[in-house]
């Protein structure tokens, strides 16, 4: 997030696109409710009528996968009607002309044809966003899990730059991260092309700095992303994998292929707290401590680094992941020892400008620190881009709408979209082992519009066959007006309904995000 959660109630206009906030980030949704109580306008763009959409002043139920057309259409109206922030655009941005040219092709009537949203509504939303005192954009995977995920994010940034709704409290471009430390895993260089703090692996000076600290030369070419790893494994290029705390067999698209890829490896080691579907395929399984059994830090979606404290001992011989890695590195001839997690953070701080002022000692004193926090006396940064952007001027990126990789056709006439539910979490490794959560949501179903059910001769609660080009599953259907005709929805929490066997691994060319949010499917009576 460029801004902080606590700033949400300050906004007078909130544009939430592709986020089912009340279920996936329930506590953040409380801040949205507070903004509404203070009179803020909420516009929700989501093909589904989520609970958040029910709270909205305007719900834009755009066609799944048409986000980019919608966003470009909003920019079009803002420029056409002269509502853009001239001062901000002149002083803080570059590339405006290129954007103007690109979005000229998205008049509201054309956007209406693509998205299904009434042209007049598009105009009204664009005007209100542009004219708001403080407008905030919230989004999640509904925007990014598309073949055009990167372009979608750039289009959101264009909107904020155009109107100057960035760099001030209560504004900004705010992705809500789904997993507790996904922000931190990225910050720490758990990515194939960057080291800590997004320092590029292709920059020789960066490599040199890390090589000096780590005592080994670093490989210079970016590595494979997770989806590419499985493809390389199937092609026999990747021969061994070390998987820590992940369950790609259930979480990744085209799950059958993932399992095949893992089964074909020469060697697979999985480190986890439970014998997950992925761990069950391993040659060696290493038992790890869970969050309650170790010290360290997590970084939340608003860049707040907070202390994780040990409450109890791990079961049996399980060890914290950092200790396992140290021992494994040592066994491989690279002695690695730290007295405690705090000492590791000291090393991180030395190598990472944005974490430079962060230490366990400081974190223990207060409510965490939001990076960038470059020095030991820096208070942290609640919102980014106040005076300047990281690269100096904010750059407009003209982006073009592309339809989803799969569109409904005669064979697969429906669109499937996936997401999360309140009472479960991710692949269920943790939440499905909590008896009460299981009691609250014991099983998954497929949400289908009653009109589609009727056309297929199905009744609510019946089992039916759901197929895509990659596989086929038996699902229980539930009539739901939260999905429009033509769209069906389910979550990926349940191994009994391993929906990712059907989803499309087609990826965004830059971010390599798979298009989990749309694929073409067929539903049939058994």
């Amino acid at each position: 997030m460029t801004n902080s959660i606590a700033e949400i109630p300050e906004a007078d206009f909130i544009f939430a696109i592709g986020t089912n906030t009340t279920e996936t980030h329930p506590v953040i949704s409380l801040f949205v409710r507070r903004a509404l109580r203070r009179g803020a306008t909420l516009v929700v763009a989501d093909p589904r009528r989520t609970e958040l959409a029910g709270l909205a002043t305007v719900h834009l139920a755009h066609r799944a996968g048409s986000d980019l057309a919608l966003l470009n259409g909003l920019c079009h109206v803002i420029i056409k009607e002269g509502l853009w922030n001239r001062e901000f655009v002149a002083q803080r941005t570059e590339g405006f002309e290129a954007l103007r040219e690109a979005v000229a092709k998205y008049p509201p009537e054309k956007v209406e044809a693509i998205t299904g949203i009434n042209a007049e509504t598009i105009r009204r939303v664009a005007r209100e966003y542009a004219r708001a005192e403080k407008a905030m954009i919230l989004y999640t995977m509904g925007v990014t899990q598309h073949i055009c995920g990167t372009a979608n994010v750039l289009a959101i940034a264009n909107l904020a730059l155009l109107t100057g709704h960035i760099g001030r409290p209560g504004t900004g471009v705010n992705p809500l991260r789904g997993q507790n430390n996904v922000q931190g895993a990225c910050d720490m260089g758990g990515l194939p092309h960057v080291l800590t703090g997004y320092q590029s692996i292709t920059d020789p000076a960066v490599r040199e700095k890390f090589a000096a600290a780590w005592g080994r030369p670093l490989p210079a070419t970016p590595g494979l992303t997770v989806g590419e790893m499985f493809e390389a494994a199937l092609a026999g290029k990747v021969r061994a994998m070390y998987i820590v705390g992940e369950n790609p067999v259930l979480s990744d698209p085209d799950g059958k292929h993932v399992a095949e890829a893992l089964a074909g490896l020469d060697f697979l080691v999985v480190q986890d707290i439970f014998l997950s579907e992925t761990a069950a395929l391993a040659d060696v399984v290493l038992p790890a401590a869970c969050f309650a059994e170790k010290e360290g830090t997590f970084t939340n979606t608003e860049r707040r680094v907070q202390l994780v404290r040990k409450a109890v001992d791990p079961p049996g011989e399980a060890l914290p992941d950092w200790q396992i890695v140290c021992r494994l590195a040592t066994a491989m001839g690279y002695p690695m020892t730290y007295p405690d997690a705090a000492a590791i953070m000291e090393e991180i701080a030395r190598l990472t400008p944005s974490y430079g002022g962060i230490s366990h000692r400081r974190l223990a004193q207060g409510a965490g620190l939001q990076w960038p926090c470059p020095t030991a006396d820096h208070p942290g940064t609640p919102y980014l881009h106040a005076e300047r952007f990281t690269r100096g001027l904010g750059k407009f990126h003209p982006v073009e709408y592309v339809p989803p990789a799969e569109e409904p056709d005669g064979n697969y006439p429906l669109l499937l979209t996936t997401g999360r539910r309140l009472f479960q979490y991710h692949t269920g490794t943790m939440s499905r082992r909590v008896a009460g959560l299981e009691a609250l949501l014991p099983a998954e179903w497929l949400e289908v519009n009653p009109a589609d059910l009727a056309a297929l001769g199905l009744t609510d609660g019946e089992e039916a066959r759901l197929s895509s080009r990659r596989g086929s599953l038996v699902v229980r259907v539930r009539a739901s007006t939260a999905v429009p005709p033509g769209l069906v929805f389910t979550s990926f929490h349940f191994r009994e309904l391993a929906i990712n066997q059907l989803t499309n691994p087609a990826r965004d060319p830059q971010a390599k995000i798979p298009e989990l949010k749309v694929c073409a499917v067929r539903l049939e009576k058994l």
């Binding site: 439970f274 494994l328 590195a329 082992r433």
Partner: protein, 352 residues
């Protein structure tokens, strides 16, 4: 800003106009007892425990709904005030089950605290007591309306913070109760199980079901940490007794969330001590997993990874790190991939 000067217990105090007497007292370091008041919620003046004496006023006003005015003279602990508070507490206790010996809330109960503070051993009123069935329908929340003092905090937090209004006052007089619509059991109501109602309940009427019998409040050590589920990063307190996490509570000063959590953060801790947790390294031998010691397992992993690296090059190995690991661990796993294995093939499920 317009200010108002007044005296509270003889102490001069200056506060912004519009401040309540309760807030002004608190600013001056004087604590007035309350049951129904909560700084985050609308003030309703229902319990009247916060009454004070104000010179020139005939009745004792409730300080939570009385605004300060210039020159006001407030007494927060005059004999009349003490007497009024004792009467309120005696009336509440008259119909309250005298169950403190076995109640899990004991030690963290406002009614118990105030009875202690005002020296109330028993109630002179022989009140009728309720005989409501305890609602144990919900997997996480136990509702014992016999202990409810009708402060209404749960009603307000559910409506004002959660925006749900699952529960509300119903019936009249002595039969007044806080219930879900149509008096359904909570499990059948449209409740999101956030537990904010439990967090604000000042007595034992709403309690976390799974913490029942898991040790006295004073035996539990609270360890402040971060929720393991979504990326909001809510502060939680793991309640530890006898080496086990027996529950989760929230703290008013949680950095992001204050006292509020969602169902997963507040109640989703059961996986920690789940019997299926992995306890020992496992090595696959002849299709089956057999347990191994750390040295054996790690030597084997080192040898196998080393062999793949030696025969096929470092890029034949790939590493997935985890959004569930700490920053320190993610850093070390990246260091391991790059410095030890010599590959940039490292990723995690950020995109999922």
């Amino acid at each position: 800003m317009e200010t108002v000067s007044l005296t509270i217990d003889g102490r001069p105090v200056t506060v912004p106009a519009g401040t309540t007497v309760l807030e002004a007292a608190s600013a001056a370091g004087i604590t007035i007892p309350t049951l129904c008041h909560d700084p985050e919620l609308t003030a309703v003046g229902a319990c009247r425990l916060c009454v004070v004496e104000i010179a020139g006023m005939r009745n004792l006003p409730a300080s939570c709904v009385t605004q300060v005015s210039e020159g006001m003279e407030v007494q927060t602990a005059s004999p009349a005030v003490i007497e009024a508070r004792r009467t309120i507490l005696e009336l509440l206790l008259a119909s309250h089950p005298q169950d403190c010996l076995a109640c899990d809330k004991a030690g963290d109960c406002r009614l118990q605290d105030y009875a202690y503070r005002y020296g109330i051993r028993s109630s002179p009123f022989r009140g009728e007591t309720h005989a409501y069935a305890v609602d144990a329908s919900h997997p996480f929340i136990l509702r014992d309306l016999n202990k409810c003092i009708l402060c209404g905090k749960c009603v307000r937090v559910c409506a004002e913070v959660q925006g749900r209004s699952v529960i509300d006052f119903a019936y009249r007089g002595f039969g007044t109760r806080v219930i879900p619509a149509f008096d359904l059991p909570l499990a059948q109501a449209d409740c999101v199980s956030c537990g904010s109602c439990v967090a604000v309940c000042p007595v034992g009427a709403l309690q976390p079901k799974e913490m029942q019998g898991q040790g006295r409040t004073w035996e539990r050590r609270k360890v402040r940490t971060v929720c393991p589920y979504c990326g909001t990063g809510c502060t939680i307190e793991l309640n530890v007794n006898d080496g086990r996490v027996v529950g989760v509570t929230s703290a008013p000063d949680g950095a992001v969330n204050g006292r509020h959590l969602c169902v997963k953060g507040r109640f989703g801790y059961g996986f920690i001590h789940h019997p299926e947790r992995l306890r020992q390294p496992l090595i696959r031998k002849e299709k089956r997993f057999v347990t191994a010691g750390w040295d054996e397992a790690l030597a084997y992993v080192a040898e196998r990874l080393g062999r793949v690296k030696a025969t096929h090059g470092p890029d034949a190995v790939a590493v997935l790190t985890s959004a569930r690991c700490t920053n320190e661990e993610n850093y070390l796993i990246s260091k391991f991939a790059r410095a030890v294995l010599g590959t940039n093939n490292i990723d995690h499920c950020a995109r999922l």
